[in-house]
């Protein structure tokens, strides 16, 4: 499911990043790529903030739809 549908506090795993030019690479170089687990800090909805092992990433409007994740039971 797209990241935009995840509630704050939930843990998910990144499955796919539908990027345009360089988005995949850019997110990857910052530590976010398919296979990693992340916690959604804020998505009220509003700016999306993710946390992966202490690295906090803010994603602006529109990005949340492009990242597909699966919940971690």
């Amino acid at each position: 499911m797209p990241l935009s549908m995840v509630r704050p506090g939930e843990r998910v795993r990144i499955i796919e990043i539908k990027g345009g030019r360089g988005i995949v690479g850019k997110l990857a170089s910052m530590g976010f790529y398919p296979g990693v687990e992340i916690v959604v800090v804020s998505n009220s909805p509003g700016p999306l903030i993710l946390n992966r092992g202490g690295i906090r990433m803010g994603l602006g409007y529109g990005m949340a739809h492009r990242i597909l994740v699966s919940p971690i039971p």
Binding site: G25, S29, V39, I49
Partner: protein, 671 residues
């Protein structure tokens, strides 16, 4: 090999992710011997410094904070070009050791490029406090590079670092390779033979071509390799079933996570519980609370700047008045010529003095900005505003340049470098001058103080607000005319919230305030002397009277300004010289009216009304950026956009002032 003989001078570079402590390391190494300039051809700041060690002079170049070495971001391109062109003797990779895997991504990119890397594991205090041990021997062996552990903000490890740097040219690690798996490696080998790019390692070039790197592709565009690249890419993607860029990334991280697993003794808990920073973010970045909190924060800043700044400003004002008189009588007593008296007292002290009066306010403003930046809140602000910015057709990252513009438009315009999309960038630059810079503040304080003494803060806030609203409207308009299209997505790392250190904040504040002082010392000083001169000739004329050259100049502009309520030649002259620097407006008025006993405030009160004062302030808010800002806009864009920026602001400024005055005057007749 030159192991025995140490070279007399050595050049190294510092590379690393943002927030890895790189700046602290740079400061630790170079101390006061720093120089800030520009990377050639662009206006990205280039910091360079020196230090001596064991009879060797080491030059340190601070590369911009980056995450990798792709061609998509200007900062990364600068780093890449520097490494290839200048081939530094060593590259110190400053790493936040508590985020080893992510930080090492850049290191692998550096190694693939063939740089001589020294790995500096910084922030080791964080690592140790979490009970994690890093096997540096293992890391060093696998990567083939020396490793140093440091805690830069405490100065620990600096000597070991310098020692490692000194030894770096002697050692050369093995060539580093990431195994990208059989099929990809096959294509790499094929391309490697055909990819010959002078200065770049061929394997690196081959990988970049597969990745779709625009710059490498462009450099090789006329060779036979281009169709080969396409062929390899298609073949691999068909085989893999998904896109090649993702595949390459996955291989790199597979290597890295394996490496990190083997070299750290306690696995860093990747799933942090929500810590304090996150809890704070829940509130501050909240959809409903975020914007009101932000506005409240800004309001607080304004109140601080004025209520604390006012008494200090008054003190300086009194001092300047005393100084002017003392100098004046002093010169008369020694029988000095009256023109010298006038130059020093009316011209310099009157002019520059009336601007220095505002130093406390400006310093407080920069202090507030420094605190907001250091605490980490500024980054969040970009996100809080992102949704709003998006609705206005702007990028969330435009917000920080605009915010900086409140201090000074020049760093604000230069900060637009963080915007990857050229369209977003130019648009932000065009409206940046509407963010009322600190140099215009003296104008507001003077006029608001003279006509709205009980509501000074409110009136000035209304001007800033007007600037913001205008920026939004103008941006919308320009976007519709010139920049149709989608806004690039906002992706930004958020630093953890931290308590700003007093030292750090004061240093930051002083850096920017000293720029203001330098301006006062040079441009404003020269401008004020020039004005004094034009006000004193032709010889024999009364100082600053209408018959002087400056008076005549002002009279030419006066009729244009009449519909705006301030059709006096003094106002015309003051606004005209505001092109030099906005502080000069007050300085000019100070010089033209002289620092009389009653002071500039009374002079203003007799030449303006409350309505025309407000109209004047609006014009000062909008009309034409200062020469330095115009020059910066030109450097960042081209003559066409610069011309547009200048012309629209002049027209809009004048138009608004006229509108306000005319409507106001009309409303008053209805009473």
């Amino acid at each position: 090999m030159k192991d025995k003989e140490k070279a007399k001078s050595v050049k190294i570079a510092l590379a690393g992710n943002p927030n890895s402590g790189k700046t602290t390391v740079f400061n630790n190494l170079t101390g006061g011997r720093q120089h800030v300039g520009n990377w050639p051809g662009v206006t990205v700041e280039k910091k360079e410094g020196k230090y001596s060690y064991n009879g060797c002079e080491v030059t340190v170049v601070d590369l911009p904070g980056i995450y990798s070495l792709t061609a998509y971001s200007l900062d990364e391109r600068i780093a890449r070009d520097f490494l290839v062109r200048e081939k530094p003797d060593a590259v110190v990779a400053v790493i936040d050791a508590s985020n080893l895997e992510r930080n090492l991504y850049l290191v692998t990119q550096l190694l693939e490029l063939g740089a001589h890397v020294i790995l500096e594991l910084n922030m080791m205090d964080m690592v140790r406090s979490r009970g994690v041990e890093i096997d540096t021997g293992k890391l060093s062996a696998v990567l083939g590079i020396p490793i140093v552990e440091t805690v830069a903000h405490r100065g620990e490890g600096m000597d070991e670092l310098k020692e490692a740097i000194a030894g770096a040219q002697a050692e050369r690690g093995d060539s580093f390779k990431i195994d990208y798996d059989h099929d990809i490696e096959g294509e790499i080998e094929k391309l490697q033979n055909a990819a010959s790019l002078p200065g770049f390692p061929s394997r690196w070039a081959a990988v970049k071509l597969l990745e779709g790197d625009a710059e490498v592709l462009k450099a090789l565009e006329n060779t036979e390799i281009v169709p080969l690249v396409l062929e390899s890419q298609t073949k691999l993607e068909r085989h893999l079933g998904y896109d090649l860029e993702t595949a390459l990334v996955e291989r790199r991280y597979a290597f890295l996570s394996g490496l990190v697993r083997e070299s750290t003794r306690k696995r860093l808990d990747l799933m942090e519980r929500l810590d304090l920073s996150d809890r704070i973010d829940r509130v501050l970045v909240n959809r409903f609370l975020g914007i009101p909190i932000f506005l409240a924060m800004m309001w607080l800043v304004f109140q601080l700047v004025f209520s604390l700044g006012a008494p200090l400003a008054d003190w300086i004002d009194a001092f300047m008045g005393w100084l002017g008189e003392a100098v004046s009588s002093g010169i008369q007593n020694v029988g000095g010529p009256p023109w010298l008296c006038s130059l020093l007292s009316d011209g310099i002290i009157g002019g520059v003095g009336s601007v220095l009066v505002f130093l406390p306010n400006i310093m407080l403003l920069f202090l507030a900005i420094a605190v907001l930046e250091a605490s980490g809140y500024m980054a969040r602000a970009a996100f809080v505003m992102d949704r709003l910015m998006h609705a206005l057709g702007l990028h969330g990252k435009s917000f920080i340049p605009m915010l900086l513009g409140f201090g000074c438009n020049i760093p604000g315009i230069m900060a637009t470098r963080t915007l990857e999309s050229e369209k977003d960038r130019i648009l932000t630059i065009l409206v940046n001058p509407l963010m009322s810079c600190s140099a215009r503040l003296p104008i507001y304080i003077l006029f608001a103080g003279a006509f709205f003494p009980r509501n000074q803060g409110m009136v000035i806030f209304s001007l800033y607000l007007m600037g913001i609203i205008l920026a939004v409207v103008v941006a919308r308009v320009f976007k519709g005319i010139y920049f149709k299209g989608e806004v690039a997505p906002l992706i930004m790392e958020l630093p953890p919230y931290r308590l700003p250190t007093l030292k750090g904040v004061l240093v930051h504040m002083w850096e920017r305030s000293s720029l203001f002082l330098k301006k006062a010392g040079t441009i404003i000083f020269l401008g004020v002397v020039l004005i004094w001169f034009l006000a004193s000739v032709p010889f024999g004329v009364d100082y600053a009277s209408q018959e002087s050259i400056i008076g005549k100049l002002g009279s030419v502009f006066a009729p244009l300004l009449k519909p705006a309520g301030f059709g006096s030649w003094q106002a015309g002259v003051a606004l005209f010289f505001g092109i030099l620097a906005k502080e000069v407006v007050v300085g000019t008025l100070g010089t033209l009216y002289g620092v009389e006993e009653l002071g500039l405030t009374s002079a203003i009160q007799s030449h303006f009304t409350a309505l025309s004062a407000y109209a004047f302030m609006v014009m000062a808010l909008v009309y034409i950026p200062c020469i330095a800002a115009i020059a910066t806009i030109k450097r960042e864009t081209n003559w066409r956009w610069t011309g547009l920026a200048v012309s629209y602001s002049l027209v809009l400024g004048w138009g608004l002032a006229v509108l306000i005055y005319q409507i106001g005057a009309f409303l008053m007749t209805l009473k």
